[in-house]
């Protein structure tokens, strides 16, 4: 019924060991025999059993990736990149969604039961528990876009301070003096760093922000801040939103009120979500180097798994400003 390596061996007139060798691309198999084995496999429609291989080899051939949300084109880009790259390295990617961090079972099954050879933690709200557990279990892992700095842990992040700085600098260079910032949630290091960069750029020009408004990385929060300003009858000429969703919400409210962008007010977002370039006006934003992040993360993880790198590696990549239609000199 179930065809095993034994059936193949019998059909090919060779031993299971030889079959196993061709399965693992061992070079010590006579070409003629290799063909015989391959032929037998095909005829029997044989497929090796992953559990048995994992048990015998002590490794699974899969890399796990824990993600919180999937509705984010920037994160999606990272996932897609990682998926392809891992395949090139002979690994499969198994995604696990964990909306509530450390939730019972969420992703932790990958860790606890040795179902993966390595793990990638993507933009976790709180990566702490994973870090603790993974270190204890000695499973290689890399944090991507993590919140905190963990000693002796490999990670790939983006310089959010620089991103915030460049966003503000862009507005300043265009001539804006009245510049506001809608923040991200304060428990995100990325959010506070962007704000720090923003403030630094203003400070260098001796500028004070028009205002700093709390936001939540959501369309709704951007919309509401603008509504508030509108009600007060006072607007900045430039706005740096902590992420594209916030920016889009702000733009939405602004245009609904009959204001023109960038004529009446310039808006710059962050992340370069797909939406940013799909909706008009196309949003000026700070792009996260998603592809490069995925590449680096896989690189570091592979080296760690292969024992090339014993020490942890911390990479901080640079964001890139993408100037589109939502920013211009103030009128």
């Amino acid at each position: 019924m179930k065809v095993s390596i034994f059936d193949v061996a019998k059909k090919a007139g060779l031993s299971v060991v030889t079959v196993s060798r061709v399965l693992n691309n061992a070079s010590t198999v006579r070409e003629k025999n290799r063909q015989k084995v391959l032929q037998a496999m095909k005829e029997l429609d044989y497929h090796p059993n992953a559990a048995a291989r994992s048990l015998a080899k002590g490794k699974t051939g899969v890399i796990g990736m824990i993600v919180t949300t999937l509705q984010d084109s920037y994160l999606d880009n990272i996932v897609q990149t990682v998926s392809v790259l891992l395949r090139d390295h002979g690994y499969y990617l198994a995604l696990s969604v964990a909306n509530h961090p450390l939730e019972e079972g969420a992703g932790s099954y990958l860790i606890q039961e040795d179902r993966v050879d390595g793990l990638l933690i993507l933009a976790a709200v709180d990566e702490e528990p994973y870090v603790m557990e993974l270190k204890k279990r000695k499973i290689p892992f890399v944090l991507i876009d993590n919140q905190k700095n963990h000693p002796a842990v490999s990670s790939v992040t983006v310089d959010n301070f620089k991103g915030g700085y460049e966003a503000a600098k862009h507005l300043i260079d265009l001539g804006h003096r009245s510049i506001a910032h809608i923040q991200g949630p304060p428990y995100f290091l990325s959010a506070t760093e962007r704000e720090r960069g923003f403030m630094q750029a203003l400070k260098e020009e001796g500028l004070e922000p028009f205002s700093l408004e709390p936001g939540e990385f959501t369309i709704q929060s951007g919309y509401e801040v603008v509504q508030k300003w509108l009600a007060q009858g006072d607007l900045p000429t430039g706005l740096f939103a902590a992420d594209d969703f916030t920016a889009i919400g702000a733009v939405n409210a602004l245009r609904q009120a009959g204001l023109r962008i960038p004529d009446d007010i310039s808006v710059i977002g962050y992340d370069d979500q797909a939406l940013a370039s799909e909706l008009r006006p196309r949003l000026t934003t700070i792009r996260q180097p998603a592809v490069q992040m995925g590449k680096m993360a896989v690189d570091v993880l592979m080296k760690q798994i292969n024992g090339v790198n014993k020490r942890s590696t911390t990479l901080k990549l640079n964001p890139e400003i993408i100037v589109r239609e939502s920013t211009a000199p103030p009128q």
Copy 2:
């Protein structure tokens, strides 16, 4: 180094079988011994090896789910629902992204190497290859939101004809007579069904559509259609877009041209994406019952795995119209 069931048995002063029993919640273990085992496990920080269990049991305890895109809140809702429900059934969910259907390795590793006990195929562009392979390998699976009808295959779909019909009916009931439709890609059954429903509703009123425009389920395509209309200087009073992205693109173009929604033109979308209710005007749309779909899919799959249902089950759920701000009677 690695602590195994043997170590636990030794420490607890019992046999491995007993340990195995508490691992599997067998009721035939004296409470006192169960505690001893539990205690030993804790002290040794023991965690069972998934590969060994899978090999011995002949099942893995994981359900695979193949997804194409992750940037879709409707699909995301299904995934989240499924994830939680499976956990309740004692299974883990492993997601596999397959942008290019049947791409080498994409998801197929789950199938080929018996890494899962069952599979959920979510909104595949072309599920055919999966169906063939899964049937051959006799792995239980359920298609969700599939394109074609496959004989003897379980699936959970939504009645797109009805959705299209209701969308059109809504506009008609509001008093619209000049109604256009922006289609989805013709190779999606969902798209053509929505159009059929739309046409049926119009036909019942003796109405001809203002026009039928090709679209691609993208913001861009909705935007461009409206641009074309604008250039021609002729607009319908009501528009049914094949999905929310298309609708949002259309709304975007309309408002950019200074038109008001729903005053000048009513727009209804499809899917009830998160965006639909986040952007203003909040979009009237046809909601897919994502939670119910996830629930049904898990239900059917579990029954199939447990041998309760030998025959295939085909469920077609009803969509629901969500009336918001983007539709109103024509002026």
